[in-house]
């Protein structure tokens, strides 16, 4: 029987293709040597890499074998614009030699390649270990030879049929477009599962599985003559370290109509009159402000100048003049760094250098008391804080990136008076309430800022008034936090978060959650972004 070209290639040229393409040893290695194999096999590969690093002269090494699977479904109005399913697998080895880090990574996870990249990581360090002024010194950490951790999911998101996800999004889109004036809508569900086997020359072998689930949508309203366009995003639906149950609980279809109505209302909303106002910030707005004005400046690598060439430095320097002394905000302001909060994005069992998850005060009773640290950083401030353990803030995006100090969950803790937003509004004579995160910008030392929102309303005599648009507040970090005069309580505490925070060179992404209640800030500068 005559073969088609497709059949010919499929049936007869596999060997030839394999022989040449996999001069790199790929297609001949079928099935893939490790994917789907046992945890024991992965651990053995880790130990091989560590042995190779030691043999090559590393004084310390760690290895991460990572398998990341993610899925993205995106829609626009009644269309499915993309359906993609992605999987990446690889190994990264970090090695310390003469006080300098070397790193190497490959997607080929064979015994030979694990040993090869371990040796290459040491060679990278060796080639860079000239003129070392301050050799890396690592804080002590216990060994965890059998560590296991998994995100607390209730419904495995990859087992949910694709058509169920599509139906959910398209019905939410239809609900939004049912609002007169809502012209465009986009929505998506993004899910991720990252399985990491970590091992270090200090005796830890840790397996962790992290999930991340991100449902979101944006509705755009347009004036009949196209003269004005306004959008409203699903700012109250946070990305979380949970399973598909989070998508279901987000209730996109039920909330879409309200978001659409607010987008339409923004078209005719009164432009804000710039001036000074008391601000009532809902958690869906305040969380980004917490990240940018407390999270970033308390990253110790920024403080020490390690990120000066891209992300920037920090106004919180030098630590010796600030720890225990700097009044960040009022006495009822408490901020936690944390990697233990259930369902939060940066929650983990151990960080990417084998340090167990921690929860610690960064601002206590209004005063700066600590920073975010890794094993090599904590010694720089341990005399000031009395804390010698790393807070466990080492993180790499995946196998092909080296670890950096990254932001944990940073949260503003609720106040003792159990206020909710309505209480804050009722106590305000003249103010503006802002809900949802909008466009923002902050200087490279994370001090002078401006933050917008999704929707904003006037507050007059303790009551919510009409919607105003083009609102942003600006100021500097210390004046802003010290102007906080009311804080919501546990009932109004909300955990939001972001998944696209970028740092490092090469740049890599990370995700962190930020919990906060609503809060009121006295006499803040409000600008009109359209003027």
């Amino acid at each position: 029987m005559r073969q088609t070209r497709r059949e010919f290639i499929k049936n007869t040229s596999l060997a030839a293709a394999a022989a040449s393409v996999s001069g790199r040893g790929e297609l001949l290695a079928s099935p893939s040597p490790v994917v789907g194999q046992s945890d024991a096999a992965l651990k053995e590969l880790c130990l091989l890499a560590l042995d190779a690093a030691r043999t090559a002269g590393a004084t310390y090494a760690d290895v991460r074998i990572v398998n990341v699977r993610d899925q993205l479904v995106t829609t626009r109005e009644s269309r499915v614009t993309a359906v993609s399913d992605n999987e990446a697998f690889g190994v990264g080895v970090r090695a310390l030699m003469r006080g300098v880090w070397g790193f190497a990574a490959t997607r080929r996870v064979t015994r030979e390649d694990c040993q090869r990249v371990a040796t290459e990581a040491v060679a990278q360090a060796e080639a860079s270990s000239r003129a070392v002024l301050r050799p890396v010194q690592l804080a002590a950490v216990d060994a965890y030879p059998d560590g296991v951790w998994r995100s607390p999911i209730r419904k495995e998101p990859f087992r949910v049929p694709l058509d169920e996800k599509i139906d959910l999004l398209l019905s939410a889109n239809a609900a939004a477009l049912g609002v007169r004036g809502a012209r465009l809508v986009s929505s998506s569900i993004s899910i991720l599962r990252q399985q990491t086997t970590f091992a270090s020359t200090e005796g830890s072998i840790i397996e962790q599985t992290v999930y991340r689930t991100v449902p979101e949508m944006t509705v755009t309203a347009m004036a009949a003559d196209s003269s004005s366009v306004q959008s409203r995003s699903s700012a109250e639906v946070a990305p979380m370290g949970l399973g598909y149950e989070h998508v279901e609980q987000a209730n996109l279809s039920e909330r879409a109509r309200q978001w659409a109505e607010e987008a339409v209302e923004k078209l005719s909303a009164r432009p804000v009159e710039p001036g000074r106002f008391d601000l009532v910030l809902e958690p869906s707005n305040l969380l980004l402000t917490v990240r940018e004005t407390i999270g970033h400046p308390t990253e110790l690598d920024r403080v020490l100048g390690y990120e000066a060439n891209y992300g920037g430095s920090s106004f919180l320097t030098p630590p010796e003049e600030l720890i225990g002394k700097l009044q960040y905000g009022p006495e009822f302001m408490n901020v936690l760094g944390d990697r233990t909060q259930e369902g939060a994005l940066a929650t983990i069992g151990w960080d990417d250098e084998g340090v167990p998850a921690d929860s610690w005060s960064i601002v206590k009773d209004g005063v700066l008391v600590d920073y975010q640290t890794t094993r090599e950083q904590v010694g720089r401030i341990s005399d000031l804080t009395g804390i010698t353990r790393s807070h466990g803030c080492s993180h790499a995006q995946s196998w092909e990136w080296v670890q950096l100090q990254r932001m944990p969950n940073i949260s503003l803790m609720p106040g003792e008076d159990d206020y909710v937003s309505d209480d804050l509004i009722a106590a305000t004579d003249r103010g503006i309430l802002i809900r949802g995160s909008g466009t923002y910008s902050i200087d490279q030392q994370r001090y002078a800022f401006r933050f917008g929102g999704q929707v904003a309303y006037e507050i007059r005599d303790g009551r919510l008034g009409g919607m105003v648009r083009d609102v942003a507040y600006e100021g500097n970090v210390l004046e802003f936090w010290n102007s906080m005069d009311m804080l919501g309580g546990p009932r109004s505490y909300f955990i939001g978060g972001t998944i696209g925070d970028v740092k490092g060179q090469p740049a890599q992404r990370s995700a962190a959650s930020h919990g906060c209640p609503p809060a009121r800030f006295h006499d803040c500068s409000v600008i009109n972004t359209a003027q």
């Binding site: 497709r6 290639i9 499929k10 040229s13 293709a17 393409v21 790929e26 079928s30 099935p31 893939s32 040597p33 499915v80 614009t81 993309a82 359906v83 399913d85 992605n86 999987e87 990446a88 697998f89 300098v100 070397g102 790193f103 190497a104 990574a105 490959t106 997607r107 990249v117 290459e120 360090a125 080639a127 860079s128 270990s129 003129a131 301050r134 599509i166 003559d225 003269s227 020490l304 100048g305 390690y306 000066a308 060439n309 891209y310 920037g312 466009t439 923002y440 910008s441 200087d443 490279q444 994370r446 001090y447 002078a448 401006r450 500097n476 060179q505 090469p506 740049a507 972004t529 359209a530």
Partner: protein, 449 residues
């Protein structure tokens, strides 16, 4: 040192993947390469690394429905699983009314974007380069932070209708921020190109950043307001970079873009910027040297977006082109803004009173449709009086429409390739001149150095 698929390897792998397909139509993209980096901080190298990566994406189309899978384990078994999964996804997806049939065979422009000197930038060579920056900084009593990144890679596209396209390239970027020990001064310099040998020497970049760090000490604020500014090329690149994705016909035609014409349609044919300025993309331009095809194998060719200030073209997807009865135009090929030949020194000497801006940071859209952006100056902002730089000033927040800004030009310098991405790494090819811009809006002062 380069570790990526050759054209023959890419072709064989693409054919093998296509051969596994039982779909009506199939498309494969393949990218691979080695990404090396070295970082320094506190006047010493801190980390050096190399990642060997590859990934394939298969898109299967079944009865007008599409599903895509990207994966990086290119063993035969994994490859077969990926193709089967993409077909499963396609069968679950609804039909996309905007999906276009796959392209047939295409012609692509050729360029030589691979340079051995760049590919050979290993850990030792990168360390040499960064130490050429840190050593003079330390000798001057300053503190250097820096990064060098290098990639050697190939990209390929193939489909079941006969497309095959392949391109290999290299790219390097070196940036440094040098600060005074007390944090009172900060200077930046950086460069990027496909060819390492074409870039300024690391010591030259070091000298620029050292000079900026020294001269930026002791800055005092100037009142926010409207100033004439000399924007160095990197600052222009920071601001102009958002232009490329905005050059989209559909969003303009649908009323969602700065290029939307009131009452409908777009602004093609209208004067949008200063008549001395032209903006082109061209994968073959020796200053740009970008990939000459898109992810679906559509050719990227020289495209004039703005000519002598007139908007000549907006990018059109194949779907939108069909809807409008026009030719499709791909985005890509980098951007090159030209219109003058003055030096930055000439520009400074032409200004009676104004500000000199080295670079910008944290640039964010205030409003996409009106194309208004905000951000801050960084790493060297100076007052100019009577054609001379007279003193450093505190950093400032700006609010500007980059296109409107290009209508307020006084003098245009010679275009150079810049590190336009704030991350200072491997990024889009952006070639821009220094500019003198009048009536540039600063809204507040930042005490950050």
């Amino acid at each position: 040192m380069a570790d990526y698929f050759t054209e023959a390897e890419a072709r064989e792998l693409c054919e093998l993947i296509l051969a596994q397909s039982g779909a009506d139509a199939t498309q494969v993209t393949l990218s691979s390469g080695s990404e090396g980096f070295t970082r320094s901080a506190g006047n010493q190298i801190t980390t050096s690394g190399e990642a060997h990566i590859a990934k394939a994406t298969v898109t299967s189309i079944v009865a007008g429905r599409a599903g895509s899978v990207r994966w990086n384990d290119l063993s035969l078994a994994a490859l077969q699983r990926a193709v089967a999964r993409s077909e499963e996804l396609a069968r679950s997806a609804p039909e996309d009314p905007e999906r276009m049939p796959l392209l047939g065979p295409q012609q692509y422009v050729e360029n030589q974007a691979f340079f051995t000197a760049t590919a050979d930038l290993g850990a030792t060579e990168r360390a040499d380069a960064l130490l050429s920056v840190t050593e003079p900084a330390m000798a001057a009593g300053l503190v250097a932070t820096g990064s060098i990144q290098r990639v050697a890679r190939s990209e390929a596209v193939a489909n079941s209708s006969g497309v095959f396209a392949y391109h290999d390239s290299t790219l390097a970027a070196l940036t440094t921020t040098i600060r005074t020990a007390d944090g009172a001064g900060s200077g930046w310099a950086g460069a990027t190109h496909n060819d390492w040998l074409y870039m300024p020497a690391p010591s030259e970049l070091a000298n620029r950043a050292i000079e900026k760090a020294g001269s930026s000490q002791g800055a005092d604020p100037v009142p926010p307001g409207i100033y004439k500014v000399v924007l160095e090329p990197t600052a222009v690149g920071n601001l102009v970079q958002p232009l490329q994705p905005a050059l989209d016909a559909r969003s303009a035609d649908e009323g969602r873009s700065f290029f939307s014409r009131p009452g409908g349609g777009n602004m093609v044919g209208e004067q949008v910027v200063d008549e001395r300025l032209s903006l082109v993309s061209d994968p073959s331009d020796p200053d740009l040297l970008t990939c000459p095809f898109t992810e679906d194998g559509f050719p990227v060719v020289r495209t004039v977006w703005i000519e002598n200030g007139l908007l000549r073209n907006l990018a059109r997807s194949r779907y939108w082109a069909q809807q409008r009865g026009r030719e499709a135009i791909a985005l890509g090929g980098g951007i090159k803004l030209t219109g003058g030949d003055a030096t930055t020194a000439d520009l400074i000497s032409s200004v009676d009173r104004g500000l000199l801006v080295t670079r910008l940071s944290h640039i964010r859209a205030v409003d996409q449709r009106s194309f208004v952006y905000t951000g801050l100056t960084r790493d060297g902002t100076f007052l100019i009086e009577n054609g001379q730089v007279v003193r450093p000033v505190s950093n400032l927040r700006f609010v500007e429409n980059p296109l409107a800004m290009l209508n307020k030009i006084e003098t245009i310098g010679t275009a150079v390739r810049v590190v336009a991405a704030e991350s200072g790494g491997i990024g889009a090819a952006v070639v821009v001149p220094p500019l003198v811009v009048r009536d540039f809006h600063f809204t507040s002062v930042s005490e950050a150095v």
